[in-house]
């Protein structure tokens, strides 16, 4: 565990510096550099946060999937801590998507929420992984929490594309959100800013993940020490 912690600390440090540079720069680009979108105006800028958050949430759930499989295969508690951390962050970024979506929708569509495909999918996905987190709190013991939530994590992620597809069938298309000055597709500056934001958010996610994993591992150590004290003191 100690080597893992040192590795995580190293990652955290490196990522922190990267994010500390890239995040302000991204914000600058989004608010200063990129021109206004022709039909939607300034509020369209929210998509530089909205879409990367969605991508990061998906990435988080993918990490849950992989580490759940690794946990069931190896039974190393580290993988369970990774899964738990990634699930929490996934739910967090889903919430950001669901928060920024309506902020954009209100001025553009005149309503806070429409049941359009991608937002609905995000909502359902968030519920799946909220249930994952609730399951962990209701399990009888640590090992059972890890094992049962690993199964849910695997099944939940397998369900992601199916849910996405089914909601698409249920509803129409997603609005086109990257057009400026009447041209076809994305303007280069918008595309570059978008890719920059994607990168920044991904690195930010990885930073938070590393920190959260290290916190989780510390919690395990504390639990262990407490149990050892109780046992030897009794």
């Amino acid at each position: 565990m100690e080597r893992t912690e040192r590795l995580l600390r190293g990652f955290e440090l490196g990522l922190f510096f990267l994010v500390a540079v890239l995040m302000p720069f991204s914000l600058y680009c989004v608010f200063r550099v990129v021109p206004n979108e022709v039909t939607m105006g300034a509020v369209q800028r929210i998509f530089y946060f909205h879409v990367p958050s969605a991508w990061v949430a998906f990435l988080g759930f993918f990490v849950v999937f992989v580490s759940s499989i690794l946990y069931l295969a190896t039974r190393r508690l580290l993988w369970d801590v990774v899964a738990h951390s990634a699930a929490e962050l996934g739910v967090l970024f889903c919430s950001i998507v669901l928060f920024t979506g309506p902020i954009w929708a209100r001025p553009v569509w005149g309503t806070w929420w429409t049941w359009e495909a991608r937002l609905t999918t995000t909502l359902v996905l968030e519920m799946v992984f909220v249930a994952y987190l609730v399951l962990r709190t209701q399990a009888e013991n640590r090992t059972q929490a890890a094992r049962l939530s690993a199964v849910v994590g695997i099944v939940g992620f397998l369900d992601v594309p199916i849910i996405y597809y089914s909601v698409q069938i249920w509803r129409g298309h997603h609005p086109i959100v990257f057009k400026s000055s009447g041209g076809q597709g994305l303007e280069p500056i918008m595309l570059k800013t978008f890719m920059l934001c994607m990168t920044t958010f991904t690195l930010f996610f990885l930073l938070l993940l590393a920190m959260r994993i290290r916190l989780g591992l510390l919690r395990e150590s504390v639990s262990e020490i407490r149990q050892w004290e109780t046992q030897s003191g009794a």
């Binding site: 013991n141 640590r142 090992t143 639990s223 407490r226 149990q227 109780t230 046992q231």
Partner: protein, 241 residues
């Protein structure tokens, strides 16, 4: 370590959450031998039985039945065919009749001629005439006898009994002691836990005390008196007080 032991547990560690229940426990059991396991509540007796029944997996160490590891997932079905486990809870379906319960388990264990086997078992546990009553109409004693029949329906080679003597009247306890002796005579390996030192001592060939996560005391019953066993138990209790 006797390499020919029918049941072997090597350095078993078991953690429940963060609590270490078993620490480096090693155990041997031969065919035709009944081992009585004593120990205080929470010592890990039930945990050990459940580990040997393959219901739990040790965090460290391994257990073997007739040379086959109980930790290997692929071997577990075969191992389970040879293990019978009587737990605290009866594992019986309340709303089914006794016969339906026993037939269900007989079929699940692949018993040949399940009807005949069940009829014999009903006779042996003295539940003849009550086979078609639903289990929730049974008294506690009757449920225990039926649960015992369930544990033995597939004629297992390793019989694990969790506090089988608890709540039994003297006559029933004698009958159970006779059953254990008979199972041992027929070459089964039996491991049972008990609180009653006298009952355990009279029914078994070996005794052991589980304390601090491992076997702190082991002895053969031949020549062992109740006083010696009781004082060994008291000594362990005094040491950790």
């Amino acid at each position: 370590m006797n390499s020919a032991a029918f049941v072997q547990a090597l350095n078993l560690d078991f953690r429940f959450g963060q609590r270490r229940i078993l620490q480096g426990l090693s155990l041997n059991l031969q065919r035709g031998e009944a081992l009585a396991l004593f120990g205080p509540n929470g010592a890990g007796k039930t945990t050990l039985l459940r580990l040997l029944a393959t219901l739990l997996q040790p965090s460290r160490g391994e257990a073997f039945l007739d040379g086959v590891s109980l930790s290997r997932r692929s071997e577990r079905p075969k191992a389970r065919r040879r293990i019978g486990f009587l737990a605290h809870q009866s594992m019986l379906y309340d709303r089914l009749t006794a016969r339906e319960n026993l037939l269900f388990y007989a079929r699940m264990y692949g018993v040949q001629e399940p009807d005949r086997t069940c009829a014999e078992l009903f006779a042996q546990v003295e539940l003849e005439g009550r086979e078609d009553d639903p289990v929730d109409e049974y008294s506690r004693g009757m449920q225990q006898r039926l649960a015992l029949a369930r544990a033995l329906v597939h004629d297992p080679d390793l019989v694990l009994l969790d506090e089988p003597f608890s709540g039994l009247d003297p006559r029933a306890a004698r009958r159970l002691g006779a059953l254990i002796a008979d199972l041992a005579r027929r070459g089964k390996a039996i491991l049972f836990t008990a609180h009653d030192l006298e009952a355990g001592l009279s029914a078994a060939q070996r005794v052991a005390i589980l304390w601090g996560g491992k076997l702190a005391y082991e002895a053969r019953c031949e020549g062992l008196t109740l006083d010696v066993l009781a004082s060994a138990y008291a000594a362990l209790a005094g040491r950790s007080a």
